[in-house]
């Protein structure tokens, strides 16, 4: 059990962490060389009238000293005002939410399946560590992981979409969207290949940690104690090994779920998927600072939230942590 005082203190720490995180993000982004005007608008026309530039700076408050901009920024986000994107001229929050929805279509199922598959395979492999089946799976995972994600993505597109033509080459919908609107089945058809790829990437990462964790647990004395009681291997695995081996996975997988918020640039690029990963790259090249700050703000919120959730989850699973509150 977790006590209220401990929880309150953790929430307090979370708030402080959020504040520090947002401040660092703000200053790092503002220290980046170049801004929206010099990076993007000037390349369109080198003869941008001075008045236009001045008006842009004034409109977004960029003519004020940095500390004043910072104070205004902090004041605004506390009010729930996340600012306006330079490129789109739209409020940042709804913009992010729209792209995030698209990212979630791929990442939510991929991360959930990836966690489950990784844990199941890792537990199985670790329990049989040293055996032929374990070594075969382990070596396969090493090769799979050693080759970069985008290579697998390109190969998958080549084999399954281009050669076999089982799946579309990319995008999130067929051209029919213009006539009949979005069809969920059509979106799913476009999403299956990227979902499968992401699932395997997430699964391999979790597989390693779970396998190592299981191998470490098997060597523990309490596993010998359990066997000495006369328990069969099945009971030793389920009643004694699994719960202990899962403990390090809790923190790791909670962060993976929170990481969904940043999308996946490789997958979104290869499959032309209009997700938040692409939005981030675009905002970065354009120096669209309010949009970038909005994305990082959301990421900070999710990560800090995930830390809180992981702490609470672990304290329920591991009785030794519960004493930490006192």
């Amino acid at each position: 059990m977790i006590d209220g005082q401990y929880l309150l203190r953790r929430i307090g720490y979370s708030g402080a962490a959020f504040f520090v995180c947002v401040s660092i993000t703000f200053f790092i982004l503002h220290l980046m060389p170049g801004d929206y005007i010099t990076n993007y608008l000037l390349s369109l026309s080198n003869t941008l009238p001075k008045e236009v530039v001045a008006q842009f700076y004034q409109q977004y408050g960029l003519d004020r000293p940095p500390w004043e901009q910072y104070l205004i920024y902090i004041y605004n986000i506390l009010q729930g005002q996340w600012g306006y994107s330079y490129q789109y001229g739209l409020p940042v929050f709804p913009l992010i939410m729209e792209k995030l929805t698209w990212s979630l279509v791929i990442l939510l199922p991929a991360v959930l399946f990836g966690i489950i598959i990784g844990i199941v395979l890792g537990a199985w492999s670790g329990w049989r560590s040293g055996g032929k089946k374990d070594l075969a799976l382990f070596n396969f995972m090493i090769v799979f992981r050693a080759i970069p994600e985008f290579w697998w993505a390109i190969m998958a597109v080549w084999v399954f979409a281009f050669s076999l033509q089982w799946f579309p080459l990319g995008g999130f919908s067929s051209i029919s969207v213009l006539d009949s609107g979005l069809d969920p089945w059509d979106v799913l058809y476009h999403a299956i290949l990227p979902i499968c790829l992401m699932t395997s990437f997430v699964a391999t990462g979790n597989y390693y940690v779970m396998r190592n964790s299981m191998i470490a647990v098997i060597g523990e004395d309490y596993i010998t104690t359990a066997r000495a009681k006369g328990l069969d291997e099945h009971a030793v695995l389920w009643n004694h090994a699994l719960k202990n081996a899962l403990l390090p996975m809790v923190t790791m997988t909670t962060f993976q779920v929170a990481g969904i918020i940043m999308g996946n640039v490789f997958i979104e690029t290869v499959f032309s998927w209009p997700g938040i990963g692409l939005l981030t790259t675009e905002a970065l090249t354009m120096r669209d600072l309010p949009l970038l700050e909005g994305i990082f703000l959301l990421d900070a919120l999710m990560t800090i939230g995930a830390m809180l959730v992981a702490d609470i989850l672990v304290s329920y699973l591991d009785p030794r942590i519960r004493m930490g509150g006192q």
Binding site: E220, D221, Y222, T224, T225, A226, R227, A228, K229, G230, L231, D232, N239, H240, K243, N244, L247, L317, D318, P319, R320, M323
Partner: protein, 311 residues
């Protein structure tokens, strides 16, 4: 008849660099009601001996010989048969109480697990039995304490819980591997007293490097050196008149006897001398000790010794 009769037991570990013999041709018997201590230095194979009786050695261990328990060779029993014997007929108190209990299960659940497995105790009867076991080992407020997790107990308390777990199904033979390791002197003395009283009418195989523990608990003592039994006899006689030079050296090296260590190191497994294995460290070695390997011979009243001087 012996409860457990071990004949010609050898254990080897297979590794990439070849096979490493750990135990060599052990002949050993425990009668019902006897409390036998197996003493020796670290690495002499005493823990491996206990684990081979439980059949809990890792998969690279090769065991030969026989171990007759109640007329049945448990070295040839199937894994399923062994699961019926472990915990129910032969129970083990693992060494190192800090790691031998599962950290994420309550101690009550861990004790109840053996009972559910081997007896018909269920529900309230099960809880009563767990409480009775905890009480019999001097754990106060058992109803409250059975809900606690291992880390909430002291080392001495955890040792008692491990003993309770081993005794849960009233086994014929208890194997205790260093039951007092990691405890301070006071708690160790308490635990030994407790162990002595609960083991009074039981059969015990005590595995220890601690001569004090052996003399406090055991009716008989076997001395293991480099994978072989070098001396065996009733504990009080063996401690009063040790025959083998190694046993004499062990006793002389204890702090109460003036702390005179045996010179040299015990040989690593697989690198034992051809003749007597203790010969290089022996102060009374003769010429033929270098070349002749002595056998374990009966010597007088229920004693056995492996030394050429008694031939």
């Amino acid at each position: 008849m012996s409860l457990l009769a071990i004949a010609d037991l050898s254990v080897q570990f297979e590794s990439r660099s070849g096979t490493v013999p750990v135990l060599d041709h052990i002949d050993f018997a425990i009668n019902t009601g006897e409390r036998v201590a197996l003493i020796g230095e670290s690495g002499c194979g005493k823990t491996v001996f206990g684990m081979s009786v439980m059949r809990l050695l890792p998969s690279n261990a090769r065991i030969t010989g026989s171990a007759l328990y109640a007329g049945r060779d448990i070295l040839r029993a199937s894994e399923r048969e062994m699961q019926q014997i472990r915990g129910k007929k032969i129970a083990m108190i693992s060494q190192n109480s800090a790691f031998a209990l599962n950290p994420v299960l309550t101690v009550g659940d861990q004790i109840a697990e053996s009972l559910t497995l081997h007896t018909s105790c269920r529900g309230e009867g099960l809880e009563r039995e767990v409480i009775r076991l905890l009480t019999s080992l001097g754990i106060e407020r058992p109803k409250e304490n059975m809900q606690k997790y291992p880390h909430e107990f002291s080392g001495g308390m955890r040792e008692r819980i491990l003993i309770a777990m081993a005794l849960a199904c009233n086994p014929d033979l208890v194997i205790a591997d260093e039951p007092t390791s990691g405890l301070d002197a006071l708690v160790k003395a308490q635990t030994l007293r407790l162990l002595k009283s609960v083991m009074q009418d039981r059969t015990l195989l005590l595995i220890t490097h601690d001569l004090g523990t052996a003399s406090a608990l055991a009716s008989h003592t076997a001395v293991l050196y480099a994978g072989e039994i070098v001396e065996y006899g009733p504990t009080h006689e063996l401690f009063r008149h040790p025959m083998h030079p190694y046993t004499q050296g062990l006793l002389a090296s204890s702090p109460s006897a003036g702390f005179h260590p045996i010179p040299g190191m015990s040989p690593a497994p697989g690198q034992v001398p051809h003749g007597c294995r203790f010969c290089p460290r022996c102060s009374s070695a003769m010429d033929r000790c270098n070349s002749t390997h002595p056998s374990l011979k009966k010597s007088g009243n229920n004693r056995q010794v492996r030394c050429l001087r008694y031939d």
